[in-house]
Amino acid sequence: MTATTSNRTGRRSLFPALVGLATLIAALLVVELIIQLNVVSRFIVPPPSEIVASFGRVIVEEHVLRRFLLTLGECLTAGIMLTVFGIAGGVLMHRIRLLQQACETWVAAMAAAPLVLAYPLFMVIFGRNAWTIIMMGFFAALPPVILKTIEGMSGTRKVLVNVGRSFNLTPAQQFWKIMFPAALPTIFVGVRLGLIFALINIVGVEFLINYGGLGQLINDLAERYDLAGTYASICFVILVSVLFFMALEKAERWLRPID
């Protein structure tokens, strides 16, 4: 009886997802039909079948794996930098209360500022190379890591701090054994947000300066007027981004099982 009920619930929870997928496929079929009927020019929107067919060509001929690894490498470098400097900055600001009071609003304002627009400036400073892309990703993603580190450290429960004091822990022990582990889940939220911002900015700047991995691929194909290839590469970047966000989300859930 229970098995039948859970089966029914499972099917019911799958049904909306299937409807969503079916709608997407139906929409693609409609687009295919209107292009084949010449209602929309195939020189503006390539038929979905052509885009699907071009996937293999783009992956093999355009060295997608190499480009993917390049973008991943840039993301990881920016990620390591923003984890180290962001957490260190947040901890420093939490420890020096005056510094936090003076600068926290500035960091929040920096989060709202469109820093990516300074990419021509970064090109002048670092040159048209991977460092411009990495530094752009790093600076744009730094504020959430700092802010979330401060939030995590400030949100440590008083009782945990008092337990540390009752054991006569040194300030360093208090930090490494109590404060940091307690703040880690919140810090990870900041790192996750930071990595998402870093990926967005890195792929964006790659596209804009026509240098690097996946972003450059889109620009390259668009400039060659390879429409099916351009659409396929955009789909590929979306797929990579979605998988990246899902992996980060899973890691966050693993760190915060209670939530």
């Binding site: 709202a112 021509p120 596209f207």
Partner: protein, 264 residues
Amino acid sequence: MATTDRLTRTDAAEPMISPVTLLRVVIVLAVLAAWELLARSGWLYRDVVPSLLAIGRALYELLSHGDYYFNLGITAAEIGAALLIGGISGLAVGILLGANRFLSRAFEAYLYYLGPTPKIIFFPIMIMWFGVGPGSKIALGTLSCFFPVALSVAAGMRQIDKVLIRVGRSFRASTWQMILKIYLPAMRHPIINGVRLGLGVALIGTLLAETKLSNKGIGFLIINAYSTFDMPRMYAMLIVLFVLAIGANAMVGRLGGLENIRRN
């Protein structure tokens, strides 16, 4: 008398400048001094870090020139149009997804995962569909703005107090009356929050598109300054742009009363 004494004592104890303000002033002065030192040191290529005087002069020239305001107007119009189209469509989709559990479970995951993808990569498609003029910039801004508004409104819709909805139904309010009198007022904060996020990404999307392919607008001026290596002018434009973006963000938040939300 006692009250007067207490007041006098409190006044006397308060320092002229608070330590926080003092530290802020010190940090700003230190950064400016370090900048000027770096500019005069010759350690970097000439004009990569221009002197403060050169930036100040460029800022004055920029703001006193009519051409800048013309380009600012074009960018503002593009961002405004993107915010309007993306905001309204995001609001409609958000209400639809928030009100219907089935639709939310069928389609919201697509919005959730597509939302944070880098929108600038869609620019080649926008150029094909809307041309190289302002249309493609508005379209990219619209696409950027749509997702945060839709997701924020859908989440806000689900958080509406059920009592309010029951009150509306007990008065036999029509669908439109429910939207206008119950849903929208109850969702003011999520909507404003979504618009604030939407404004930020619409601004970035529009300006990045202008830097990629355009012959007018602030994005075009920035990339033009880069092409001619007019660094003081580029710094001046970025300063004005950041001030405007942060100001617009704060204004939208203030208009929506976001700073009055009590966090428990």
